[in-house]
């Protein structure tokens, strides 16, 4: 799904890397736990999260996540926006909750990231 479609579906504003709206992501992953993101995300996802801490951008950077949608209408700091720009990560913000935002994207065809392993077998 193109980022510009995601922007429309979530009625979102783009805060960083607006010029990258034509890139595509295949999967979505909604989570406020960066530990879980690091453990479970494999594919090219958009990350939906309510966290607005710099470690969200760093986590995305480590996993080559191309886009982050900040949910619940939270406002990221200028520092966070600058960090996203430097790393070519599209940063969106939507007033929807995690449940609603995920549901809207899923309903419109974005797939959920498959959990690739059983954490008990680490």
């Amino acid at each position: 799904m193109f980022i510009r479609e995601i922007k429309d579906i979530l009625e979102a504003d783009i805060l960083a890397c607006e010029e990258l709206q034509d890139i595509q992501v295949t999967y979505g992953y909604g989570c406020d736990l960066m530990s879980d993101v690091l453990a479970f995300v494999r594919n090219d996802v958009i990350l939906l999260t309510g966290l607005v801490h710099p470690q969200v951008i760093r986590t995305a950077e480590m996993l080559d996540i191309k886009a982050i949608a900040i949910i619940r209408g939270k406002k990221p700091s200028e520092e966070l926006i600058t960090m996203a720009k430097k790393r070519n990560i599209v940063l969106l913000t939507t007033r929807h909750s995690l449940f609603t935002a995920s549901g809207l994207l899923y309903k419109n065809g974005l797939e959920g990231e498959e959990i690739a392993h059983d954490e008990a077998t680490f």
């Binding site: 453990a39 480590m62 996993l63 680490f122």
Partner: protein, 138 residues
């Protein structure tokens, strides 16, 4: 090639800078994306652990044509029960770390899963040494 980093303790804003620099270096060296991803995830988890639990430390990275070796050394409190720490879901992280989305007890198992070899030596009251090794060719 050898890289050295000093990691500040409790500095949650800057945690991850060393991992970010190593990732950029590996990209410049043309290492395969899959290996870069494994190194990045493991090193970032280890660096975050160092900040959260050990009040910082030092990281030394050595890149040869065959291997990537990462040594993280701290003089923090040490890990009381390593077997317990290796269990998924077990964590002694602070409230502050949890508010940032860490401390879910996934870090050490995730590092083990993504590295080709992981060795931890730790002594309570003295510190922890983590060695992560990766083969460049899969």
């Amino acid at each position: 090639m050898k890289l050295h980093f000093d990691v500040e303790g409790g500095e949650f804003i800057t945690a991850g800078i060393a991992s970010s620099k190593v990732k950029k270096t590996l990209k410049q060296l043309g290492i395969s994306p899959n290996i870069i991803r494994k190194v990045s995830i493991s090193m970032y988890e280890a660096e975050i652990n160092m900040v959260i639990h050990a009040n910082g430390g030092i990281i030394d990275v050595e890149i040869t044509p065959e291997n990537i070796d990462i040594q993280l050394v701290d003089d923090g409190p040490g890990i009381e029960n390593l077997d317990l720490a290796m269990q998924v879901g077990y964590s002694t992280a602070s409230k502050e770390a949890r508010e940032m989305g860490f401390g879910a007890g996934m870090g050490l198992p995730n590092m083990k899963r993504h590295s080709d070899d992981m060795t931890i030596t730790t002594e309570v009251g003295k510190g922890t040494k983590v060695h992560l090794a990766f083969k460049i060719h899969e």
